[in-house]
């Protein structure tokens, strides 16, 4: 065997009881690898039922517009086009991904109705005997628009007089129990700023990022003899897909069966229920198997990206490196619809102020609607961009104070028993140790008192004067 492993350093957490495992902790060959190297693993698109129909979408060419009319005449005349679905064909034309667990909002139509709110929003689904005919039909759909002003920047979207992206919300932000943002209020940051030796404030920004799985999002729906629909999908969450699709179709849940589980990369992008509802409607109406799979262009530009974020961090810092207050204003660019962004914004809030014990924390985390492709979950949801901002901030503080950046982090590192800003007591922490280990790996010398710090021993930090 010629595989890679990384050394496990047991000198850290040496007190953890040694356990005698049989297969845990051992290198076991991946159960899927033989299928992969022989090309025999079956991904959803490797299914090829007879009489398969193909769906291609006609999408908005505008950021924000009223739909005045949709003309399907030329599209229906394309040889091989079987049917074209509009919002009127979708029994319950609204995505409700989290309805069964009581989470709103239901702010996104399956197919656009009356308005489009982002470039690429689906309007009509062309069902055809071949992919080429479906593309041709989709290209021949004519939509008459009345262009509306669009807003593409999070802070502009929150400014007075900005165009409203989605009437459902009435504002360009998601409302958290009456608040215009998800809040963290812990201690008193203003007092911390007043008492600080230094106050530093900087801004960070990211742009949307694509999951870019090598397999695009898609499904094949096969009507069954018993009237049920078997949905072969690369969803990351079979029951999410089943539940939400059934609600959209208005069918009993047990009419649907999801078969999945072998996915060509997800990274969060296949948590949305993007393709199955339309494919199921098409299959029900035509009584034929239907494939709806994103093109690479759709995957790149239409599927949910990782949200762009803008983050302002203002820190109260003492001369010895202790951060005594951290005030954060965070904007998540949700795009035109909620999807999972309100949750991601809450997750971002819970992560603040990073892995540090800061006694005073204030955060306003805004989930903002813009006329942009809706964003949603991606690997590190709510955290990745925050970490970029937080750890850049730490580096800047260290430089402002002419401090060793690792010592600054160790002084402020959270430990077992610390209460985090969201009032959860930390346990199982190990920030101190990964920093110590990284320092050791690169030969970054730390004084003894820093090498002796421990996540389990708050006293070791108290010696630093806290």
């Amino acid at each position: 065997m010629r595989y890679k492993t990384n050394p496990i350093d047991r000198t850290y957490f040496a007190d953890e009881p040694a356990e005698d495992f049989n297969v845990i902790g051992s290198v076991v060959q991946r159960s899927d690898a033989l299928g992969h190297v022989t090309g025999r693993t079956t991904f959803f698109e490797d299914l090829s039922p007879p009489d398969l129909l193909h769906v291609k979408m006609h999408r908005s060419t505008r950021h924000h517009a009223r739909i005045l009319g949709v003309d399907l005449t030329d599209a229906l005349a394309v040889p091989g086009v079987v049917r074209i679905l509009t919002h009127a064909d979708i029994p319950n034309n609204v995505f409700t991904p989290l309805k069964l667990i009581g989470v709103q909002p239901d702010d996104e139509p399956v197919l656009a109705e009356g308005k489009v709110r982002y470039l690429g929003e689906p309007i009509c689904a062309v069902v055809a005997e071949t992919e080429a005919a479906a593309y041709e039909g989709a290209a021949r759909v004519r939509v008459d628009y009345e262009e509306l002003p669009a807003v593409l920047d999070v802070e502009e979207a929150l400014a007075e007089g900005a165009p409203i992206v989605n009437e459902y919300h009435g504002n360009n932000y998601f409302t958290y129990e009456g608040h215009h943002c998800r809040r963290i209020r812990f201690g008193d940051v203003e007092s911390a700023f007043a008492a600080a030796d230094h106050v530093f404030e900087w801004r960070y920004q990211s742009a949307p990022i694509e999951h870019a799985p090598t397999e695009t999002t898609g499904c094949i729906v096969v009507p069954q003899p018993d009237g049920r629909l078997r949905i072969h999908s690369d969803t990351q969450a079979c029951f999410f897909t089943l539940d939400n699709t059934a609600l959209i179709l208005g069918t009993p849940f047990n009419k649907l069966r999801i078969v999945g589980g072998t996915v060509g990369g997800g990274f969060g992008g296949k948590v949305d229920i993007a393709v199955e509802p339309v494919a199921c409607v098409a299959a029900m109406l035509t009584r034929q198997p239907v494939k709806y799979v994103y093109s690479r262009y759709e995957e790149m530009q239409v599927s949910s990206p990782r949200a762009a974020e803008r983050i302002y961090i203002k820190d109260a810092v003492m001369a010895d490196g202790r951060i005594t207050g951290r005030k954060i204003t965070l904007y998540v660019d949700a795009g035109a619809y909620s999807r999972h962004s309100p949750y991601g914004t809450t997750k971002a809030a819970a992560h603040l102020p990073g892995p540090y014990s800061i006694p005073n924390v204030w955060a306003d985390c805004h989930c903002v609607f813009t006329n942009r492709t809706p964003s949603s979950a991606m690997r590190g949801f709510g955290v990745t961009i925050g970490d970029f901002a937080l750890e850049s901030q730490m580096d800047r503080i260290a430089r402002e104070l002419s401090m060793d950046p690792l010592r600054l982090r160790l002084i402020n590192a959270y430990r077992d028993g610390d209460m985090k800003a969201h009032r959860k007591v930390a346990e199982g922490t190990a920030l101190v140790e990964v920093i110590q280990k990284a320092a050791e790996m690169v030969g970054h010398e730390l004084p003894a008192e820093y090498r002796q710090m421990s996540s389990m021993d708050r006293a070791s930090m108290d010696r630093e004067g806290r």
């Binding site: 991946r30 159960s31 950021h63 990351q236 790149m300 809450t346 140790e433 790996m441 970054h444």
Partner: protein
């Protein structure tokens, strides 16, 4: 022209799981007539190796070899509910559910073995190769193949178990943000070494040193896969990726892998990774779930390394050559 070298640091934690509406996953497990245990799930393997790691959890708990475990997953007709594969929850939630199901099945297995061997179930142990044997009297034993047959045809017993892991719903307090959103935290510290071309702004990541604390490395080779792939994605996010390169305008959005830039095999650094284990009390054998965290620390570590190399502070992702060069020009008072 100069290649400016710099080193940057970042340390992060990452929460496993979510609290949104409750976060359950289930597992069912049963023995076939010949002692193969089928783990029934509806969980999705995205390539991270979930099917393999839950099979390990089942084998370990049952005390049987891996060959005796089959994982049948992601069919909503046959598998019990799983919330989905996201939020670094797969190993943690599904692993826990499988352990619970396997523990219940093991109890039945030992009870049937006790009947078969006419001993007390409490005196039995598994040897990991397929035998259930009497502690201290190992010659008194039965192989799972024979035992399962006997369970079916002699004792009329199903050797099976049910498992569920639920992280209960927790609503944040709107005024303060008080909440309990996750189950455990994994940790990472990255040291990135970069070289900046001071004439073009091109950044090359030469080395990445990563220390990860992951609770427990259930399968060290798959941990190595996750951490290296994650570090690569972090570097990719840092230096290349965006669907909207001129954000907030939407111009020139890439439509394929030519335009959507990610580091290719020629652009990868040397990785030096080390693992620490601080088992989580609520994790399967202490594992925490690291799928997401591994991509995070490299981004600020690279930003900080760029500053260290050339004095340019990149506060906007991605750190394109253009952004670096504009920063260098500004530092040099040099407006070409």
């Amino acid at each position: 022209m100069a290649k400016l070298r710099g080193r940057g640091y970042a340390s992060v934690n990452y929460p496993t799981g979510m609290n949104l509406g409750g976060d359950p996953s289930q597992a069912l497990i049963h023995a076939t007539t010949t002692g193969t245990f089928v783990v029934s799930l509806s969980s999705v393997d995205l390539g991270q190796g979930l099917k393999t790691v839950v099979a390990q959890c089942a084998a370990e708990t049952l005390g049987l070899p891996m060959e005796n475990i089959l994982v049948d997953t992601a069919d909503t007709d046959t598998g019990p509910h799983c919330m989905g594969t996201f939020a670094s929850r797969g190993t943690h939630r599904v692993g826990n559910a499988v352990i619970m199901a396997a523990a219940e099945a093991r109890e039945v297995m030992l009870a049937v073995a006790a009947e078969e061997l006419e001993v007390d179930a409490g005196d039995l142990e598994t040897d990991g190769t397929g035998y259930i044997q009497v502690k201290g009297a190992e010659e008194k034993r039965v192989h799972i193949t024979d035992l399962a047959l006997a369970a079916h045809f002699t004792h009329g017993r199903t050797i099976s178990g049910r498992g569920i892991f639920l992280k209960e719903k927790n609503d944040p307090v709107p005024e303060t943000g008080e909440m309990d959103p996750d189950s455990c935290q994994a940790h990472a510290c990255t040291v990135a070494v970069v070289e900046v071309d001071d004439e073009t702004g091109v950044v090359e990541v030469l080395e990445m040193h990563n220390a990860y604390e992951i609770g427990r490395a259930l399968n060290p080779a798959m941990v190595a896969q996750q951490v290296e792939g994650g570090a690569w994605m972090g570097m990719s996010h840092a230096l290349f990726e965006s669907t909207e390169p001129y954000y907030p305008t939407r111009d020139h959005g890439p439509g394929d892998f030519n335009e959507y830039l990610m580091p290719g095999p020629a652009d990868i650094p040397m990785y030096h990774n080390a693992i620490l284990e601080r088992p989580a009390g609520n994790g399967p054998f202490g594992a925490k779930g690291i799928g997401e965290m591994t991509a995070n620390a490299p981004i600020p570590a690279i930003a900080n390394a760029i500053f260290d190399a050339c004095g340019v502070r990149l506060d906007t992702m991605p750190f394109t050559p253009e952004r670096v060069l504009r920063g260098l020009d500004e530092l040099r008072g040099n407006h070409h």
